[in-house]
Amino acid sequence: MKSNVEKVISVSNLTKRFGSFTAVDHISFDVCRGEIFGFLGANGAGKTTAMRMLCGLSRPTEGNGRVAGCDILTQTEMIKRHIGYMSQKFSLYSELTVDENIRLFSTIYSMTDVQIMEASSRLYAELGMESMRRTRVSDIPVGWRQKLAFATATIHRPDIVFLDEPTGGVDPVTRRKFWEHIYKASSEGMTIFVTTHYLDEAEYCDRVSIMVDGCISALDSPAALKRKYHADTIDEVFRIVASEAKRDE
């Protein structure tokens, strides 16, 4: 990692305990501006919990850090102005139309009517969703919903986009296309923080971290990781690293 690059996420000893269970155990890492940062780990390794702490959805038990220049302990509402978040579970209003959802969220991000108009027409053109504008979200196919959720998370051009398993349950072709949108967002200067179970997707990231039992066991570029573990694919690296896990799901 180059030291002259601005760090948009920087955390140290971030910990989350639920009673006696330590979901996230003293993790420390930095993410640079414009990076695509892959956050890997088995089910229950603590990925989502860690991500929720970064987004200001969950209060850390210990540790500190900054996201988009704001403190994750005290300035969570400030952080929320600068990030986009796409949750694992589809969470747009399914009884609202595509347009109504986009309008609602962009108004909350304090965008003006003109900005909303411009941003949404650009989005619909990019995603090819023009004809679905007035369709209720519950009526559009799953693959399109993911795209729409991504669009909603990036409509306000946040500094960082957090994607929690964005391609779960999506066919390989649509997944591939989805990553094109991620690349595009990244090329426009957004930092991408993404968790995934598809290890081929990890190859698309600039750097990946692998979480095992609440700790980060490996963190480097895909190429460096493969060298280190003498593996041909990230899939193999993951198997080697994740086999240390003691925790059940």
Binding site: T76, R81, Y85, S87, L92, E95, L96, T107, I108
Partner: protein, 370 residues
């Protein structure tokens, strides 16, 4: 800027409400059902007392007593058994509520030594209200028959029997007592529990998380949930008053403004409570169970069905913590007695205090972070 966000949130709530298959029906159907059907069925008026007359006198007077009882709209002479044990058998079967026994030579002894003759009235006390009122009805009927009979025979009563004049609800119509209070039940459900269910349903679908990760101010988000239901609540109160007027000819004796003021304050209290419950519940089922517990206590301890005055001391103390108590008192006092603010300031101030308390707690318990 904030206003713009609130507007956008309100638009979302109203659109979702309109598109919900159930909510518009609940909002329109429930008030009509509660106001049209409940006053007819939630009725403690005693109107069908069954009487057995054991006539051991067989005089014209005793036959007249029986005939007068039959003529009463509230009393029915089911049977005239030959002896007392026959009457008791009827009570045991559940066919008879009151037994009137006229002793032998009743009319003769009444004529000779006035005042020393008496009839027996026995009442089935299992249903306390019905028993008490039924016994009184029969005794009044007998007394008035005797009085008439004596006057015809040239004896004028030296003293008038005690008469009762019922103020504020002259016909002692239980409906007039219930209708103002039923609006309370409507507001509990519409302003307290519907917004709470709405909030919890966003938790279940996960949309609340999509909101919590945006910079939306939490106060605006909660307000956007409550405002539509406050408006609906006021519409429901209006519909309730209209139904009361059109169907039951019941109009408030006091100021309508006071009724609305009380309704608004009570809605605030209930929505505060609803939001607290929603904040503490992870699922619809959980929140419904908690609300169910609240609604039970509210209905049984607020004086809605049973007078607070007849509760034991400790229970009366608890009723001071039950918000519907104050709203019911205000509604009944304004509706039936035409009470003004000067009479009800305590109830109004308590509602204000409770509103501040519940809304404050609801703001404290709502967190965008877990």
């Amino acid at each position: 800027m904030k206003l713009r966000i609130l507007k956008a949130l309100l638009k979302k709530e109203i659109t979702l409400m309109q598109r919900n298959p159930l909510i518009p029906k609940i909002i329109i159907g429930m008030p009509l059902m509660v106001m049209l059907i409940l006053p007819l069925v939630a009725n403690l008026d005693v109107k069908d007392v069954n009487v057995a007359v054991v006539d051991n006198d067989h005089s014209s007077l005793s036959r007249r007593i029986t005939a007068d009882i039959s003529a009463s709209p509230f009393l029915t002479v089911i049977d005239v058994p030959l002896d007392h044990s026959g009457a008791i058998a009827l009570v045991e079967k559940g066919d008879v509520d009151v037994i009137l026994t006229v002793p032998p030579h009743f009319s003769r002894s009444l004529a000779i030594c006035s005042g020393n003759a008496s009839v027996d009235i026995e009442v089935n006390g299992v249903n306390a209200t019905k028993g008490m009122l039924g016994g009184q009805y029969v005794s009044q009927s007998v007394l008035s028959t005797i009085k008439g009979w004596r006057e015809e025979n040239g004896v004028t009563e030296p003293t008038q029997p005690t008469g009762i004049l019922y103020l504020y609800n002259p016909t002692l119509n239980f409906r007039n007592y219930m209708i103002p209070a039923l609006m309370v039940v409507l507001l509990i459900i519409i302003c307290g529990f519907l917004p709470a269910l709405n909030l919890v349903s966003e938790k279940e679908t996960g949309t609340i998380e999509a909101m919590n990760v945006t910079p939306v101010p939490r106060l605006l988000f909660v307000l956007s949930k409550l405002i539509p239901f406050w408006i609906v609540g006021m519409i429901v109160v209006t519909v309730g008053m209209l139904v009361g007027w059109i169907v039951y000819s019941l109009v408030p004796a006091g100021s309508i403004f006071l009724i609305y003021l009380a309704a608004i304050l009570f809605s605030l209290v209930m929505s505060g409570l609803g939001v607290i419950i929603a904040n503490r519940s992870a699922s619809m089922l959980q929140s419904i169970f908690v609300m169910f517990a609240f609604i039970m206590v509210f209905q049984l301890m607020s004086g809605l069905f049973t007078p607070i005055g007849s509760m034991p001391g400790w229970a009366r103390t608890i009723t001071y913590a039950i918000p519907p108590r104050y709203f019911i008192e205000i509604m009944r006092a304004v509706y039936l007695k035409g009470a003004g603010f000067a009479d009800l300031w305590f109830q109004f101030l308590t509602l204000v205090a409770l509103a501040v308390l519940t809304l404050g707690l609801s703001a404290l318990t709502y967190s965008k972070r877990s």
